[in-house]
Amino acid sequence: MTCPSCGTAVAEGARFCEACGASLGTTPAAPAAPAAPVGEVDHPLGDAPISAPTRKPASALPDPPASAGRRPCTECGGEVGPDLYCLSCGTKAPSERDHFEEHPATWVAGVCDKAIGKTRNEDAMALLAGETPGSRAVLVVLDGVSNSIDSDVASLAGARAAREVLRVPLPAGMGTPQGRDAAAAKVFANAAAAANTAIIAVTDPDSPNPASATFTTAVLEGTRISWANIGDSRTYWIPDAGVPVQLSVDDSVAQAQIASGVPREVAENGPQAHAITKWLGRDSEDFVPTVGSMEVSEPGWLLACSDGLWNYASTPEAIAAQVRAAGSAEPLAVATALVAFANGAGGHDNITAALARVDLGRPDLGQNDQTPTPGGEPSDG
């Protein structure tokens, strides 16, 4: 197929043109849901680099809908023409890669933005959500390392590959809390491995500077939040009233310094503040994420973001203040406000903010949704 705006050949199923950035308005066909390995006793969840099917397809979440047509002009709200300039004020519309939004359900949304200070958006985001608020949400955020080649392509490929693994509910293990955590850790390791494989797949084998990226993901299932992290993108739990917490722990020089007693403010502004100690990519030596989980008991926001946002509000309190200042219960409005805040503060790095709204209104639904279906249990645990 070819791009309707500029005529360049584009890959089948592409959502935007690599040459001119025009939205192609096609939704990639959701990959055929993994066939349930009914009757297959020893299916290999073990060291498989990409997801092995673990659940019935019926419980797999669909991809977020592709945005319909072009978004209105960011400057004046006018219609954007097929040449990607506003028909009223002439402002250049950001390309789909430079600024995109996902809104898989009313209660889950994210914005991934190039930021005013950068020329390319190397952040990536991939979201999933069940239609019922509070049922099941998956937030995946990758931050391509800017001094590596093609990290914008790699980060998006990695985010979507990880999303595939997380499309089906997390396993419950053998029934014990430890078993459950171990089973979830295994799935998260698979998701990170899938992202890693996807990143390497789009990396030029001869590249002296292979693409690399951070990886952070948070999964909400009813009242349970599970997360996994590699590098310095972050997940936060921000209750409406209670004390906000940073869930993920950075793999960074700054974090190591903080752990050894250096005050956060000093460490995060030091010369090595943004040096990460773990990442995904061809030259990654360790891509097993650190994981964790918690039960939530009050309404609030689950947030996954890149350092383009938390650079300007690092502490849980500071970022909670920005979320609360947005003053909205709409996740897209809050994500948009957070991106605007970071751009307003300088926008020196790509900005991604993905949110799930937790209202705890109908906790039962969530519980039901994550009830494991037989046949695809991870065999370890």
Binding site: D83, Y85, L87, S88, C89, G90
Partner: protein, 428 residues
Amino acid sequence: MAEFTASVYQNEFLPDGGTDVNAIVTVTCAGAGTAGRSGSGDAGEIIIVDTSGSMGPATMAAAKDAAQAAVAEIVDGTWFAVIAGADRAMLAFPQVSSGPGMVRMDASSRQAATDAISRFVGSGGTAISTWLDLAGQLFASVPEATQRHVLLLTDGENRERPGRLDEAINRATGYFQADCRGAGTDWQVAEIRRIAQALLGTVDIIPRPDQMKAQFEEIMRNAMSRGVADASLRVWTPQGAEVLFVRQVSPTVEDLTSRRTPVNPLTGDYPTGAWSDESRDYHVAVRVPAKAIGQEQLAARVQLAIGNDIVTQGLVKATWSNNSELTTRIDQQVAHYTGQTELAQMIQEGLAAKASGDEATATTKLGRAVQLAAETGNDEATSKLRKVVDVDNEETGTVRLKRAVDKADEMALDTASTKTTRIRKETP
């Protein structure tokens, strides 16, 4: 089917606070076909020959010969008519007194028209407004002829009360196109240029009768090769912007700024007439509100529209930068055509000053013209200027007016003043 393409030459980088964007947009047409065959309507041709008493026997004989040669070039099926112009206009062919005033070209109508032309006799004065008005009436009598073109030959100054010709030009503007030629040296370049410019045609001098036939054949061949009946240059500018000017700059300089027809509050159409397989350059200058460093925006969409169909588009951009290496560069094409536009103006103003006896102004303006012609590589202008002035120093534009100048050379310089040369393409 005609194919149009557009390319844009500009320096899109503006300094902090910069507002004025200049661009050259080249529009090229290929596969235009033949007039009247594009399916958008028939072609109509009217030949107007000056038959006033001032036409000498040699000129009249040449004019008849040339008009007959032009008739021979008209493609079969084209609606046509021949007008003999003096102090009133006479329909020489077809000889009808009611109904359609034009007939379709075929072997017998071509013969009949040729015979009618051979009976031309010179007498009376010159009232060009009546010629244009009759042409308009003849076209109106054949509604199916939607591509309308006139070839007009005159040898003398218009003898009508002031304003009458301009009124006729206004009536014809946007209705038909006209290529105009002046025979000998007794006609007024400025007057005939006014007709040609308004009616989207060319103007030139035919100094000697023996050059007439070849010129007429060429004009008619060109007219017959215009398979695209009518097109407009459509210019969109953003909210809050101002179009400073829109000029055709190649093959000739024609200022179109005042000829805008609004399409909507942000968009206007400028007439370009019919197209053959050719390439034309337009200089578009737009003033946009300044934006912050690093911002990019569209300053103009320059499109070619046939009816309401956009057949090609060029984008004129503005990007604000604090890199002075980028912002101080002037695009070569923009610089070239800015020089050529000034060249045309200097020649016309210099000759006007000379005619009114203001030798100082004439010397300055023509000197500047010599300088610009050399700088922009317009060899035709240089050689025509050298017939009117003695050049002491081309680089500084130091010249002296020649004492004895052939009137025809001066008029040739004047009529050719708007002709431009293209920039010499640099080989990479």
